[in-house]
Amino acid sequence: MPVFSGQSGLTLAQALDLCQTTLQSPPLPSQRTWGLISAEILRATSAAVPNNVQSAALSQFGSVIVPQANATMAAISSGTARDQGDPGYTDPQTGFNSGSSESAPAAFLAANGGQVYSSPSCPLPPTTVYDAVRLKLRIRVPTNANGFSFKHRYFTAEWPDVCISYNDHLLCLLTSLSPGIRPTTTSCSIPCPTRSRCRRRSSITAQAARRARRT
């Protein structure tokens, strides 16, 4: 069932199909299993809680986009994470303004020369971000796993106003000891439709302008 209000990080993790939970420091060795240790919905860098309408577990988005596995998908938005007709929906062109303002994630800035990553042919985005939402998952990896994958889709109301500093950003950050990951907190790779904009293998900042307009 979709969850529009009172959702937690755990709700979104479950919508992502990450359902098994575990403890960071279990009292017994036998209880040391893989799974989700914690799940939080936060602002970009602070522990403040975003507006409730900015995240949800959706059972569909429009008439075409449906869950790829199980009954729901995790949704986060710089506006409202709602489909038309859902409670709290705001037209994304008109937009939702939560009033929040903060710095972009420090680890991401540090890994990109103090800037928000962008295509070289576009103006640099500001390092102050607005209406941010962060789903932070802490996970113990199964002892027989050496990687993970997930499915994603990004929609923006800014199309076709591409390559402007106002474009929204989507970021996925992975902190891992894997030698395949850069030493600092690093992004996992989300393929971009325009390869030239994905010059850094590990950077998946996805400017809003890259994606198809929400229909």
Partner: protein, 99 residues
């Protein structure tokens, strides 16, 4: 939907964060959907995980130094009653590296 993937180490604790933000107009919003999280699993060849603890034996290039005992593997708590001092130290080192 597109698919994203990344490598991890078996048994480690990772942090995975999804962040979306507006870059200045305060309106004209974006939305991201995520679904179908899956692990990429390591298939252990026959004879490489005799104790069934999911850690491959050192003889197979894995990190399980005792593939006959499921309670002994990287990340397991040391057994002071049975382990030598050297072994205990090694286990603590490995365990701390994985936290």
């Amino acid at each position: 939907m597109g698919t994203a993937a990344a490598p991890v180490l078996p048994g480690e604790i990772i942090e995975l964060e999804f962040i979306i933000w507006d870059s200045g107009d305060g309106t004209v919003d974006g939305l991201a959907l995520f679904d179908d999280f899956r692990w990429a699993t390591i298939e252990q060849p026959v004879g490489c995980d005799v104790d069934g603890d999911l850690w491959a034996a050192a003889s197979c290039g894995g990190t399980d130094c005792d593939d006959s005992n499921a309670s002994i593997h990287p990340g397991a708590r040391p057994s002071f009653s049975t382990g030598s001092t050297t072994t205990v130290t090694a286990w603590w080192t490995r365990a701390s590296m994985r936290r």
